[in-house]
């Protein structure tokens, strides 16, 4: 029978068919962080349950910890210290692997798990965090869950999951200059809406995807959830195997050959049927930027703020009107040239070494415009060190960027550090929701190169127009 990669991984992990489309699925790896992992571990303990396979469970500190140099358990987030200390105590008591503050394996959960070789092709991996779908970029079947399901996975090593429908999204053609994986996924969401993927597991494929390095595939899959999808995945190939080889938790020796043979079978059969197909010509895509308060509110950097009057559907029209009011933008305004107050590079979407390199390339020999608050937060302690080893930190700081310790930082506002009231931020993160990055903060999502170029000019900028 012809099967998709999603069905192949599903079948390998099926413990029991529960009937009517629900299955008991074996979970290979579980990752936790101090924001939601704390409550899952505490809930488990209060129910008198234990972690079934603590050796397969990992935990890092990323959401609540500060990213200032010299940070401690104290944080600017009100009540934040309790999240850090509760997580630490519960993790140590449960005997799971903890990447604590000061540990060089610490970092943003979805940056750390590929970096350490914990997320691998063909594994099922869950985390009480919606961006767990990131790890599909390695060929893992990975998805975000709530804290109760987190307890379920910890206690039983399984989850009850409804089998998703399947969608294939093909990107063909070479990526134009200045266009990145971030632009591909924003373009997809803009065309097919933030609920276009609801109920689906998505395989991303096509020539464009095959030519993407693993870190870019992680960026692509990271925002599958912003498309409403259950998860996204890219079939593992030689590029993936080269990336995984030699990482701390990756298979080695005889096990490596065995694993690669298995991983090579993880591709959709030529005749496999998907419930939905979308084809996109990558050559048509330009750098993307959002103008509203949903990732679907986006267009090319050469576009204009839309006019709600052009929207026939009443719900969508209201959504656009509300977004423009929040963003303080007038219909018809060209996006390029909208003045910004701040620029942010970081988050599980775009904080890996390749992201920092691409931004640094734009920033080298340049400086951010006067009055712009610019911050770069490497995705993990190892990314930070690797970037410093090649001098990227000096490029960022000379250009006027702050250079921080790793963590989720200002991707979201939790009562601590934020961009100010009504500040306009161009950001390499994944969510432009109302108040996401600060009270009444206005977020424009874009790639790290677009963020860097915009910081230099002090306004939303088409990176293709900067002189080389």
């Amino acid at each position: 029978m012809n099967r998709t990669i999603i069905e192949k991984i599903w079948d390998t992990h099926c413990v029991a068919d529960l009937g009517d489309g629900s299955y008991l699925i074996y979970i290979d790896r579980i990752f936790l962080h101090e924001r939601t992992g704390s409550i899952a571990l505490k809930g488990l303990e209060e129910a008198g349950r234990v972690v079934r396979n603590p050796e397969h469970v990992f935990c890092t500190m990323d959401h609540i910890v500060d990213t200032f140099p010299g940070r401690t358990d104290r944080t600017t987030m009100p009540g934040g210290t309790e999240f850090i200390t509760t997580t630490r105590e519960a993790a140590l008591a449960a005997g799971i692997n903890l990447f604590d503050l000061g540990d060089d394996r610490q970092g943003i959960v979805h940056v750390v798990s590929p970096e350490q070789g914990i997320a691998l092709p063909g594994v099922t991996l869950v985390c009480p965090d919606s961006h767990t779908c990131t790890l599909g970029g390695l060929g893992a079947l990975a998805w975000g869950i709530g804290s109760t399901d987190g307890e379920h996975a910890l206690a039983t090593k399984t989850l009850v999951v409804k089998k998703p429908r399947t969608m294939r999204v093909s990107f063909d053609g070479a990526l134009p200059y200045g266009v990145t994986a971030k632009d591909l996924i924003l373009h997809l969401i803009g065309r097919h809406t933030a609920s276009g993927g609801v109920g689906f597991a998505i395989e991303f494929c096509g020539q464009t995807i095959r030519e993407l390095p693993v870190e870019a595939r992680l960026t692509l899959c990271n925002m599958a959830v912003e498309f409403g999808a259950w998860t996204g995945i890219v079939a593992p190939d030689d590029t993936t195997f080269e990336y995984v080889r030699g990482r701390p938790y990756a298979p080695a020796g005889d096990q490596w050959e065995l694993a690669v043979r298995h991983w090579q079978s993880l591709r959709s059969d030529p005749e496999a049927r998907f419930d939905r197909e979308i084809r996109i010509d990558s050559r048509d895509i330009v750098p993307q930027v959002t103008w509203g308060t949903s990732p679907q509110h986006e267009t090319g950097i050469d576009g204009r703020v839309p006019d709600p009057a052009d929207e026939p559907d009443a719900n969508k029209r209201q959504s656009v009107e509300r977004a423009l009011d929040y963003m303080a933008l007038e219909p018809g305004t060209p996006l390029e040239g909208i003045p910004i107050d701040a620029a942010f590079i970081g988050s599980c979407t775009n904080s890996r070494l390749s992201d920092l390199r691409s931004a640094a390339q734009v920033l080298e020999g340049r400086h951010v415009a006067p009055g712009i608050k610019a911050i770069c937060v490497p995705g993990s302690s190892r990314v930070k060190r690797a970037a410093e080893d090649e001098g990227l930190d000096r490029i960022f700081t000379r250009a006027g960027f702050e250079w921080r310790e790793s963590g989720c930082s200002m991707c979201f506002f939790a009562g601590g550090e934020s961009f100010g009231d009504r500040e306009r931020v161009v950001t390499s993160t994944n969510r432009n929701f109302e108040n996401r990055q600060g009270p009444r903060t206005r977020s424009h999502l874009a790639s790290p190169t677009t963020v860097a170029a915009s910081a230099v000019r002090g306004c939303l900028t088409d990176v293709r127009t900067l002189e080389n």
């Binding site: 413990v15 629900s22 008991l24 379920h152 399984t158 609801v198 719900n315």
Partner: protein
């Protein structure tokens, strides 16, 4: 977990699309490692006049009578998209919401609802819009009735609409079951799976 069977209640329409869990409970309102004490932060960005304040915004529907007694929410498509935070469901539940009716839901949010005794019902957008219109003419009198055993929603005008949810979720809500306890009964299956899997994928053990 509280059982769900029948419910006839005041419903509050918040007819926006893509209401995300950051809007349902902003991260700044999650101040403790706890599942309780969250209802105060429910929809904080819309419910209060200023960030961090508790001064009610009279324009927001849940600050108005009789919607303060609402046990049902109506909304546009993709309700609960975004962050996986189960705090969104804990806050709704503590505030008094037992059922949400929308054309579609964020996947993680919908699962979180079922695990906490909240019933997520998917109905076509036109039907949800019609229910909202009926409610607005008389919010107190025009209640909505949910019959979970029969899988039907009855509008104030008497029209009934069938809905579907996965049978496992149906059972869990009807009986108020704990999903972990149910799965733990399958422990021998899980052990057998692990033994087989250890042979075929030894690099993961």
């Amino acid at each position: 977990m509280e059982k769900f069977s029948q419910l006839t209640a005041i419903a509050a329409p918040i007819m926006r699309i893509n209401i995300d869990t950051d809007a349902i409970i902003p991260s700044r309102e999650m101040k403790r490692v706890s599942k309780i004490g969250l209802s105060d932060g429910l929809f904080a960005g819309w419910r209060y006049l200023k960030p961090g304040s508790r001064e009610e915004n009279p324009e927001f529907i849940l600050n108005q009578e009789p919607y303060r007694q609402a046990q049902i929410l109506l909304s546009g498509a993709n309700f609960g998209c975004g962050s996986s935070r189960e705090h969104a469901v804990w806050a709704l539940s503590e505030w008094g919401i037992r059922c949400i009716i929308a054309p579609s839901f964020g996947a993680i949010f919908s699962g979180n609802c079922v695990r906490n005794g909240i019933l997520p019902i998917e109905l076509d957008n036109e039907i949800v819009e019609d229910l909202a219109a009926q409610i607005k003419t008389d919010p107190e009198g025009n209640k909505i009735s949910i019959d979970l055993p029969r899988l039907s929603v009855t509008a104030p005008d008497g029209t009934s609409y069938p809905f579907s949810i996965p049978p496992a979720d149906h059972e869990m809500l009807l009986q108020g079951l704990d999903s972990i306890a149910i799965t733990q009964k399958r422990d021998p299956d899980i052990l057998a799976f692990q033994q087989r899997d250890r042979q075929s994928r030894p690099w993961l053990y």
